[in-house]
């Protein structure tokens, strides 16, 4: 069977692929964060989601504040260089959000296990920290060859992986470059995937360090220029640091946040 990624609007992709109660990862490590896709999930009032992301960032602050999330699986929840994510922080401090907390190394390995089709990954990590006391997806495991005490973390059971990329072609082959985080794993490790792109082009060109996700592993491609703002898309636009700083005051105050939500 010939498989191509289907090219649709973002609204259609979210409506068709994201279901209430799903486990959804929106990835992008500072770079290429799929902000527009997150806001479309808010607009469509998806509920009870288990949200997965290494660095929750302001897009998850928005999803959490809007009431889309039941649970968060993450490894660092702050507004980088600015301070807290106040909707996230309030939800945790008020006990409104279940959390499953890891380190970056643990989360990265969970994505690798998912993309590899394995039930778990092994790393040398977490030993002596308080994380295993609070997170039941961190378990000790002994190396069968050397006897070394290591740590196992399970694959992420992702229903939908969502990323933003610079480009796709008309068959739905996706290309991204620069700092590409765990985006490859977020797509390969999920049952369904949505990739928003800056532009759809006739032919992808050669780029150093570029990651190409071939059309048969991508479910939907949506042209959403500027879809990563206020994060950045290398060779398209820079990170809007002022917007990250400005978010602090909006997120801090529930009423201001609700007013922001109305404008979405």
């Amino acid at each position: 069977m010939r498989t191509y990624a289907e090219i649709t609007s973002l609204a259609e992709a979210v409506a068709d692929l994201v279901r209430d109660g799903d486990t959804v990862a929106l990835e992008g490590f500072t770079h290429l964060i799929p902000v527009a896709a997150g806001q479309e999930i808010i607009r469509q009032r998806k509920r009870d989601l288990t949200l997965v992301r290494m660095t929750p960032d302001i897009v998850y602050d928005q999803l959490i504040g809007a009431g889309c999330a039941r649970k968060l699986i993450f490894s660092w929840g702050g507004n980088p260089g600015v301070g807290s994510l106040h909707r996230f922080r309030a939800a945790v401090q008020n006990g409104e959000l279940e959390i499953e907390e890891h380190s970056h190394a643990g989360m990265a390995n969970r994505y690798v296990a998912s993309a590899s089709g394995l039930p778990f990954a092994v790393l040398r990590g977490y030993n002596g920290t308080s994380l295993p006391e609070h997170t039941d997806t961190i378990k000790p495991i002994r190396c069968p060859f050397t006897g070394e005490q290591l740590t196992a973390v399970p694959a992420l059971d992702l229903d939908v992986g969502i990323i933003h990329a610079q480009r796709a072609d008309r068959q739905g082959n996706v290309q991204l470059w620069g700092q590409t985080g765990v985006q490859k794993e977020a797509v390969l490790g999920a049952k369904r995937s949505i990739v928003t792109v800056e532009e759809i082009v006739d032919e992808l060109d050669d780029r150093p360090y570029s990651v190409v996700l071939p059309r048969w592993v991508v479910t939907r491609v949506c042209a959403v220029p500027g879809g990563a703002k206020p994060s950045y898309a290398q060779d398209y636009y820079d990170r809007d640091n002022a917007a990250y700083r400005a978010w602090d005051a909006i997120s801090r105050d529930r009423e201001r946040f609700d007013a922001w939500l109305e404008t979405l």
């Binding site: 660092w76 929840g77 190394a105 040398r124 920290t129 590409t180 794993e185």
Partner: protein, 248 residues
Amino acid sequence: MTAYESDEMMSVEAARQLRDVTACFVGIGLPSTGANLARRTVNPDLVLVYEAGAIGAKPPRLPLSIGDGMLGETADYVAAVPEIFNYWVQPGRIEVGFLGAAQIDRYANINTTVVGAYDAPKVRLPGAGGAPEIAASCGEVIVIVRQSPRAFVEQVDFITSVGHGDGPGARERLGLRGKGPTKVITDLGILEPDPGTRELVLTHVHPGVSAARARAATGWDLKVAENLQTTDPPTEEELKALRELINA
């Protein structure tokens, strides 16, 4: 001599620690300031590694975030995030990890997760990020943190990153391969683990700072080295480079 702030002294002293280092894993905030200053002063060849993937980043100004575009664009190589942790941090390929802390205890264990109980936090902090494995596996760790009784506590509320655990032999028992924290650089001086007890001891004060002041800014009965030394004040060149970096 130019007047300077205590934070400037801290960043200058942090940078000096990297004089003979090949590669340094850089946390955001104070560690990033120190590491970038080192590249502009004592060690132009220093390889800066950031957890979003940049190896050999040469940012023209201080990044706000760990994955800013200028880090990737100026890097020798950009690795995917699983590769950064699995191929570079885990095998101990990075000589020094430069970390910050919200709380640190007498054994240099670090908390960046939560103040108060985990399930009913007084303050929810961002969490672990890359720090636990950096602290476990980098050759050694240098912590940069402002000294106050709130930050320097008898016992951390949560061990996000292991320093020297509960004392002698703890790192070996846990199978942690790096040496752990070898220095804690503060705005008041330098603390180093005692070779026997592994407890942090005040070994240096910055010019004009008394040992009594450093002890008062510490939440446990901080021991002072018999041979307490005073760090050198920032040179004109160091201050100029630091101010250019911060204002760039």
